[in-house]
């Protein structure tokens, strides 16, 4: 008898109650505001959170962007950007950005990227931004040439300070069915998030959006636990979002990794290929 009792020390297995439609469970993450006076690039177009923009000593990006503000108000483009820094830029002790180093010609799949000045915007007097120029960065417009599910390789054949030869696969082209851009979403009902696109990890960044200044501020990050194309955002969360009615739901389907490319240094650079779809909505 004692044996039976000792053997049977487990609990009965739970019965799982699943929603009628298959949805992915999501993890919710806070978005940290970086301690910097510098302006950071908006997530809907950069696909990099502000804290990450201030954390990495470089960004090597390949992004396909769709900005959906409603029917007839959809904008799409694709680009590549390469910034490799060797040092941080300080302003009144605080970090405001990085100094982009010149790698010589930088090629993306053999095509040269455009070298431009790397600028940092710092709102010193709160009236007008002060633009600091610190080194260079490389950009390329891929709107016409971007292909999903293709391998893209960056090289800098003449550089002596960096070993730039990085390849990454572009994910599917992401499309979002819900929430549709320009839609009004009630706060008192669960919101179905629905997307299509694979070959990458999906994140959803919720940002507040000021229609007057056009400034956005990311406030939450959601990560689905499984790739089933839909998930539920409970109304309890919608109700707790700031009172500002306009929000951007930025879906980022990305492949990314961290690399070190500067000789003799352990500076970490973010490499990311992403398909980004931002829906501009109004929460009611």
């Amino acid at each position: 008898m004692v044996g039976v009792m000792l053997e049977g020390c487990q609990q009965p297995a739970d019965v799982q109650l699943q929603p009628d439609t298959l949805t992915a469970s999501m993890e919710i993450f806070p978005v940290v505001t970086p301690d910097t006076p510098a302006k950071t690039a908006p997530v809907d177009s950069s696909a990099v959170l502000p804290a990450d923009q201030m954390a990495y000593y470089g960004l090597i990006l390949l992004h396909s962007i769709i900005l959906d503000a409603g029917p007839g108000r959809v904008d799409s483009f694709a680009y590549s950007r390469v910034l490799v820094a060797d040092s941080a830029v300080k302003f009144l002790i605080r970090n405001v950005g990085f100094n982009g180093i010149d790698l010589g010609p930088v090629l993306l799949n053999g095509a040269p990227l455009l070298k431009i000045a790397h600028t940092i915007a710092v709102p010193i007097l709160s009236v007008r931004d002060t633009i600091l120029t610190r080194g260079v960065e490389y950009v390329g417009d891929l709107t016409q040439t971007y292909r999903p599910n293709q391998t893209y390789t960056w090289t800098a054949p003449l550089s002596t300070v960096a070993m730039l030869n990085i390849a990454i696969n572009a994910p599917d082209r992401l499309s979002v069915q819900s929430p549709a851009g320009g839609s009004a979403v009630p706060r008192n009902r669960d919101l179905l998030l629905q997307w299509r696109g694979k070959n990458g990890q999906l994140r959803v960044i919720i940002s507040t959006f000021d229609q007057l200044t056009k400034h956005s501020r990311p406030v939450l990050e959601l990560r689905p636990r499984s790739d089933v194309g839909q998930a539920i955002l409970p109304a309890t969360i919608l109700r707790q979002l700031p009172g500002n009615p306009y929000f951007i739901f930025t879906f980022i389907l990305s492949n990314k990794r961290e690399v070190t490319i500067l000789s003799g240094q352990t500076r970490i650079v973010l490499v990311q290929a992403a398909s980004v779809y931002s829906s501009y909505i109004e929460l009611q």
Binding site: M1, A13, Q16, I28, V31
Partner: protein, 671 residues
């Protein structure tokens, strides 16, 4: 057989149109047999019918476990343990601790907070459990038991809430917290077990008849509360033969079970059952197989329950399909999975299974110490014994009264067929202490029945025995002779003294008149010292022993008759009582004495010329002799007058009144 078939049909008609209630599946016999309301026989299944608790033999203890058959089930679950005790023959109590009687449903998280301090949790967790219950039963008769049980039910709903709060450099920090709601309820059930025939048992249970609640779920969660409305279930077990039984069970919640059990021998039992549920598709919701093995005081059972709907009982169901109101049992409902159950039961105390049962004890009357020896061969009462086994038995009934008996008396062995009843008469060999009972006393007698090849008794009953005082008399002249004590030292001394004082007178004369002359001397010698006292209480109550009469030198006719019968008997003279109960005048009943003169009838004129003064009758040796009637009420006046009065009475009552022929006069030999 016709009656059995009729009963079966009747049972089927009753249960057919009704709808069965699933209960605790702690006992593999329950799982294997399915229909258990009328088959409860120990502490494991009293949730099905608390009335069955009286089937416990003494102590029983069991422990149970189960496991699912899929890899998701994760091993054996400790289902619970029970402890039962039968006491005071007709009462039984059981408690059950059952942590495995639990159903937990979870709604996986749609959203969970990431971070070490906020582990992912389910959106909602619904837990139902019945971890404790207690039952009590009383047996009103051998056939009918009623029991009541209380189950403690816990319903707990845990919701996870995520709050967004500002913190340092974070505008909205997700924080997870849990809100818990609980409802605790004691549910009271009532069960009846009726066994009108050895081969048929009927069980009925009313579930959820009373609710004692100390907490409730909020109204918004009421749809997740378990059903609380009363449910009735009815079941029957029909034993076609000692080796095979069929069980049926139905309930008003739409469930039904039909099971069978075959016991081929060697302590092995094979079982299987069909479970029907009107709410499920197909209607045959599950099938079960069971195997049991028992030896001495240990019983092991194993069972397998398999549901036919492989989707619904898979452990995952859709939210919209879940209906808490369909969960009438936490062990058997549309959401549990297939399971293999294992249980071990141990019996302690009086662990032998009874073969026979005492159904009734009837005592014929009081015990009169004066005639206590009589009960060694004359029944003092009788016992009705039923064979409750499935085999023919040889039974014996024993009877014992503490202190008044040195050992139990046992009836001859008699045969009782299975299920049949037989009566056995009880005799008693009392010891001398009975004669010391000075006044009326009631004592408990223990009656036991033992069925071969048993070593211990199978059943025991008690009966009240009335012991009268040592001088009490039942009025029957046949009992009066038990007051005659020729061996009493006082009697012997008195008769010897009188004969010794008249030694010379007795030594003269013919030897054929010895007995006559001795009687005359004895009566005359003591008669003058005695005084007759009329009995104010008539005759049927109090009689003095001769030693008491000799001591106080007085008494009524009964006392005198007994005393002189003792004196005469002490010197070897046979005596007899003449018991007269005049027809229509029982208040004039009286007794007088005859003694055997030993003279042959042809020598009658040697004692009297009047042949009406003596009686010719056969003695114990079968030869005819002359008997002399003596009326003890006038014995103080001497032998002659007593003889004359006695002869006159005998002439009037027997010869003229024809009392002997008509039966209102009896002559009862004392010696």
């Amino acid at each position: 057989m016709q009656m059995r078939t009729g009963l079966l049909l009747w049972t089927g008609m009753i249960i057919g149109p009704m709808a069965v209630e699933g209960q605790s599946l702690m006992d593999p016999r329950v799982v294997g047999l399915g229909a258990y309301t009328p088959a409860v026989k120990d502490s494991r299944g009293f949730g099905w019918n608390p009335g069955g608790l009286t089937q416990i033999r003494d102590w029983d203890f069991s422990v149970s476990t189960y496991t699912g058959v899929s890899s998701a089930d994760g091993g054996f679950v400790f289902h619970g343990l029970t402890l039962g005790k039968r006491f005071m023959d007709n009462e039984a109590l059981a408690i059950e601790y059952s942590p495995g009687t639990r159903l937990r449903l979870v709604v996986p998280p749609t959203l969970s907070v990431s971070g070490i301090d906020a582990p992912a949790s389910n959106d909602r967790e619904i837990e139902y459990s019945e971890q404790g219950s207690i039952g009590f039963a009383h047996r009103f008769s051998q056939d009918l038991s009623i029991g009541v049980a209380g189950r403690h039910r816990l319903e707990r709903i845990t919701d996870t809430r995520i709050s967004l709060v500002p913190r340092d450099s974070i505008l909205l920090m997700p924080v997870s917290s849990q809100i818990e709601y609980e409802a605790r309820t004691w549910l009271i059930d009532l069960g009846v077990l009726w066994t009108p025939f050895q081969y048929l048992s009927l069980g009925a249970t009313g579930k959820n008849l009373l609710r004692l609640r100390d907490a409730t779920l909020p109204d918004s969660l009421d749809r997740l509360a378990l059903p609380r409305e009363p449910i009735a279930s009815l079941g029957t077990v029909y034993r076609f033969s000692p080796e095979y039984l069929l069980a049926l069970n139905i309930a008003t919640d739409g469930q039904g079970m039909m099971g069978q059990e075959w016991t081929p021998g060697l302590g092995i039992a094979l079982r299987n059952a069909l479970y029907v549920d009107g709410h499920e598709s197909p209607a045959i919701a599950a099938v079960s197989l069971g195997l049991g093995w028992s030896y001495e005081f240990v019983e092991i059972g194993v069972s397998y329950l398999r549901f036919t709907d492989r989707t619904r009982h898979s452990g995952t169901i859709s939210l919209s399909d879940f209906d808490a109101k369909a969960v009438h049992s936490l062990d058997l409902n549309p959401y549990v999975r297939d399971r293999v159950s294992l249980s071990v039961k141990a019996i302690f105390g009086n662990i032998r299974e009874s073969l026979a049962r005492i159904e009734q004890v009837e005592m014929y009357g009081a015990v009169y110490p004066s005639s206590f020896e009589l009960f060694a061969y004359r029944p003092i009462g009788k016992a009705r014994v039923r064979n409750v086994s499935s085999k023919r038995i040889q039974a014996r009934v024993s009877f014992f009264v503490d202190k008044f008996m040195d050992a139990p008396t046992e009836s001859p062995s008699f045969t009782v067929e299975p299920g049949e009843v037989a009566e056995a008469e009880l005799t008693a060999v009392f010891n001398e202490r009975v004669k010391a009972v000075s006044k009326m006393t009631i004592r408990d007698a223990n009656i036991y029945v033992t069925a071969a090849p048993a070593e211990a008794y199978d059943d025991r009953a008690q009966a009240r025995v009335l012991f009268r005082g040592k001088n009490d008399w039942d009025g029957d002249a046949r009992s009066l002779r038990f007051f005659v004590t020729p061996d009493d030292p006082d009697v012997l001394r008195t008769s010897r003294d009188i004969l010794l004082q008249n030694k010379e007178a007795l030594s003269v004369g013919a030897g054929d008149l010895d007995s006559f002359r001795k009687a005359r001397v004895l009566i005359n010698g003591f008669a003058g010292k005695l005084m007759y006292v009329s009995d104010p209480k008539l005759t049927a109550d109090f009689v003095q022993y001769p030693s008491e009469t000799l001591k106080i030198r007085g008494g009524d006719c009964d006392d005198m008759t007994v005393c002189f019968a003792s004196l005469l008997s002490s010197v070897g003279i046979s005596t007899a009582f003449v018991d007269v109960v005049p027809p229509g005048s029982p208040e004039k009943s009286h007794i007088y004495l005859l003694f055997d003169s030993g003279l042959k009838p042809e020598f009658g004129d040697g004692i009297s010329d009047n042949s009406k003064r003596y009686i010719v009758r056969k003695g114990k040796n079968g030869t005819e002799t002359i008997w002399i009637p003596i009326e003890p009420t006038v014995i103080a006046r001497g032998f002659e007058e007593s003889w004359t009065a006695g002869a006159q009475e005998y002439f009037d009552e027997v010869e003229l009144g024809l009392g002997l022929a008509k039966g209102w006069v009896r002559i009862l030999d004392v010696n």
